[in-house]
Subunit: 355 residues, 4 copies
């Protein structure tokens, strides 16, 4: 977990900029013998792919993945899997505004302050296009962990939350919002479209649930499963908060309310609640692993905002061009991929120590 | 960042159990030439020390730190600094209850499921006594970063929040709750005491602010400053949520509301808001770095809770003995230490790459 | 330094197989602002490139490198530099022999034992083609360390060593053996050609010298400069031994003979000898860093050797096809690259801790 | 593997100086459930312990190890094992000579150049006392790998080598030289005693053999088993060279001579030779793993040597006090421990990836 590498055993390194020729991931440490082809990865990239509805950026990227190494005769060999996605729709626009002044909320100023210099085209390395590489890697991670199912969905856009009694995972793929509540999805059409037309943007919350995780994954005290999930989620563009289980809500509970009582069940222990989100002491308990992730509103807006230029002078900037009115929507497949990557990594880490 | 080690350049490894002879930290990679003695560390341990008021556990631990290596003639040598704290008040109580059945909310079941076996005395490795070692290491981290001031405080216990207009950092040390709002501190006396007497417990929120952090610390994309903060905070016992800046609140803002506009200032750029919590694209912006951390209520309560025994049979358990009615309170010095450790590490990481 | 990643601060990950579509390296943590284009890398790849004389394999690979990320307007941005080299001359030969039986000296059996499965085409991941990716990364490492000059040369082929009194670095590029002694180079033409024609092969020793390394790089005790050099060199295909300075020769010296006495010089200390190879206590002394690396003879030979098949049956195998009669020769640019990568990494690591 | 930490899964961190109050190791990632007490570790420390014959330093250290964490009811818990050894015989001698001038061959100058400052008492962190911590950790590593037997011995002191036809492992414990050839051990008494009386010192070679290692440990390409062995061995004080199998000798062989032919055996493949030292492509082959390690002569000698003082002035220094006339002798238990640590680590790494 240094620079652009994440993971302990199942490690991946991503590379590439928004407007470079390509981007990719090298996934290393994958178990050998898993059946793998581009077809196993592409559906996950397609889910994240931009330009599929008016509610996401209009940049048209096919996001076709190529496997350049690590697979032989249709199976993983245990050596690094190099995944590459070419950038196709790098529109030759005029970046002089962005080159000269810092867009508030973006990494522009921080990159310049750090490196003295930055690739300003589409945000360069700080662009959310980087997350395509994670999604590709995440698709492989799932194959290493067939016993686990990971599902992410958008539970809130702006102030509008789903009705939890109406959650139906089968609905997630039926709307452009990864929304498990059809009524909320309907409302969000107007909500997001209004923001889009106004040149504004919206924040969102993504929730992710993994079922099938056995008790015992995770390790004290700095390889805790929840600590790795927190790091992974917080590394996603625009994420500002992470919760496990009840999260900040747990701060308002009493000990009695928060206790996940246990009862003897036919197939091992059963829990009467899951305030803990499936993790205790940093180790999975066998319950569903539950994580919530807050996305800030897209920083690119059509409203002019006060800012300064590279030479320190006062100016204003507005971000023309293509962008997601709510970056959290396409965050759902990314959150899902990160959850899969963290869990598969911990499956292997657990096996290393405990056989 | 593996197992019990945290950090990239300034790395520390903690060891020890609640009822073992001692616990400690090895802090490695520290810059040479820093003035350091036990007196620089002890005040931070004293702030976290149990048994100082009726609002924390009555375990009496002097938590005296010894420096066993890495310092010569009062200065750090650049070699590993071994810090040891002896456990003194390991009361010889009867642990047969805990040995036989799992306390809900604790790591008991997860440890057994993972390792087939656990040190049940006081929670063993999963005890929050581990955090004493972090606090000791954090005191050294501060010395490596004299330009930065890190301050943590409790902003909420149960449902009761501080009045943000009344925050006065000078008040934090004047009450047993690390509370910057004297009126809230007064209210919390009753709140916590009531919970304590009822054998119940309360959750809390700790906030942490670092000033003096220059723009440029942190690195894309898996060594983001906020990703490391999230991992560090989530690794603290009982933590279930982490926010940077506006956190989940940002999900409800529009892009215009969330923009931290910039203006030219005498000493560099000035920001008109800090929704971002001082971090953009994973890199510090020069604004205060702001983090919020949610602690669940202490899982040890005097109310009997349904659970199962080691052999899977149904039973009940209540946790007698000494415990904090609100573990979040003593979490404040720990959050502060983790923030210091992450920032000092990133100061060094930045220097490595950018000179 | 896990799986296919090497380095602490300046980290690179290589990927690719001998007969896959491409191979590459992702170099991460590089300082920003270094001038870099393909032209800075290509000469080093050209030096290592196969098929340039009858003394190396006849596989014709142009080894053209492409920079896919991390460079903007001709300068490194501080983000990952993705380097890709396409495989062009994957001759469509018959691999059925290699698929069915294990070539002694190759990794065939070990890979099968480990993974249950292997890419047998040209050795797959265990092919020395992987070293092209290191050479590309090494070219960038040099740019991060302009004060240092790294030079590797072949000092011995089979039993025939160079005359050390005749070493002339300017000669290295004048013969196909990276030999600094023209008379030895002349002799080696016959030596290597005879082995080649006989279908046999030869071992070699490569020496590497880095000048300009200041005192102070390297760190106790598991980040010692010499420990990292040893790991880096031993990870090169066919390497079986590594020496720093006098190496095994030092085991035969007395303490008086081995002492590198010091005298006061105009520009700091001067040493009267360099038995230590420029490293004491794992830290550079300011003298030239000197390393020697032993390459075994190429395992691919035309003589049939006893072996077993995948089903355990006795058989024989001989390795037809293209190969280097002395793999150590083309090892020289690889050793040079690894030395550059280790040193640049330690330059940055030193800066992290000591400013 | 950073700073003072070694290992990938089974990681250990050592701390402590020659003349500090104590030294130790924190061993992390150990499998749970292994029977472990101080009695399992002490014999290995006793073998390395100084002051047991006139052929080693006269410093009298009992080297009593204490286990401070990670063991409960006689079994490892899977949490960090903290091992501490107190320094007892830190003779209050006059270090003014060493404080003022640099001892050639020691790390004195390099440490000062790096850190601007050093603990000069007995070499501080660069003292070979650090290796006691490795030996303690190595004893635990053996328990994690009961199928493997690791044996190290001294094969050469100065110019005098053992007769390989006379190797008898049972003899190693019967003489103060860890020598498997009784006749050589007899000769070495005179050899070492003569050097000792003359205030001189001798180099040595230590060989190490591990039997019982199954095929499949190690991983391409920067986690190669031999690369990790090379790093581990080169990190030992006074080591200047590492060979796997035939090492530098392999450079003088032809491909036919170097081939380890295979035949079908009753219990899997049998090899007709072991030039490779049990490792091919960085992965174990099932043959004995064989490593050779060169130790330079002890740098502390009674002969005055030219050197410079801290202010750069010319002077001379001789190293009075207690030292080993041949530091390689006590290197044997250290080499053995490092081999055990690397192998146990790779056993676990292999399990992580390949189940």
């Amino acid at each position: 977990m240094s620079w652009n590498t994440f993971g302990r055993i199942l490690r991946f390194t991503t590379w590439g900029e928004s407007h470079g020729p390509a981007l990719g991931a090298v996934l290393d440490g994958c178990p050998p013998g898993l059946g793998l082809s581009e077809e196993d990865i592409q559906p996950f990239l397609d889910a994240r792919r931009p330009g599929q509805s008016k509610f996401t950026t209009q940049r048209k990227e096919p996001d076709q993945v190529r496997i350049l190494s690590g697979v032989f005769e249709g199976k993983t060999t245990g050596t690094p899997i190099s995944l590459m996605i070419e950038n196709v729709d790098q529109r030759s626009k005029d970046y002089s505004d962005v080159a000269k002044a810092y867009r508030p909320g973006h990494a522009d100023y921080a990159y310049d302050a750090k490196y003295g210099f930055r690739d300003y085209r589409g945000g360069g390395r700080s662009s959310a296009r980087e997350t395509a590489a994670r999604v590709a890697a995440g698709a492989v991670a799932r194959l290493a962990m067939p016993e686990v199912t990971v599902t992410a969905y958008v539970s809130q856009i702006g102030h509008d939350e789903i009705d939890r009694s109406q959650i139906d995972f089968a609905e997630i793929a039926n709307n452009p919002f990864f929304c498990p509540d059809p009524a909320a999805a309907k409302r969000w059409e107007t909500l997001v479209d209004t923001a889009r037309k106004a040149g504004s943007s919206l924040g969102a919350v993504v929730e992710c649930v993994a079922t099938g995780v056995p008790a015992g994954w995770g390790a004290p005290v700095y390889a805790k499963l929840d600590a790795d999930l927190a790091a992974g989620m917080m590394s996603i563009n625009a994420v500002k908060g992470v919760e496990i289980g009840d999260g900040f809500g747990a701060a308002r509970l009493s000990g009695e309310q928060n206790a996940d009582a246990m009862r003897s069940g036919e197939n091992g222990p059963e829990f009467e609640a899951n305030h803990a989100g499936g993790i205790a002491g940093g180790i999975s308990t066998g319950q569903p692993v539950v994580c919530r992730v807050a996305f800030k509103p897209t920083s690119s807006i059509l409203t002019p905002v006060d800012t300064i230029g590279r030479d320190g002078e006062n100016t204003q900037i507005m971000t023309k061009g293509r962008h997601d009115p709510c970056v959290g929507i396409r965050g759902a497949p990314v959150v899902e991929a990160m959850m899969a990557l963290v869990l598969a990594d911990h499956k292997m880490l657990h096996r290393a120590q405990c056989g």
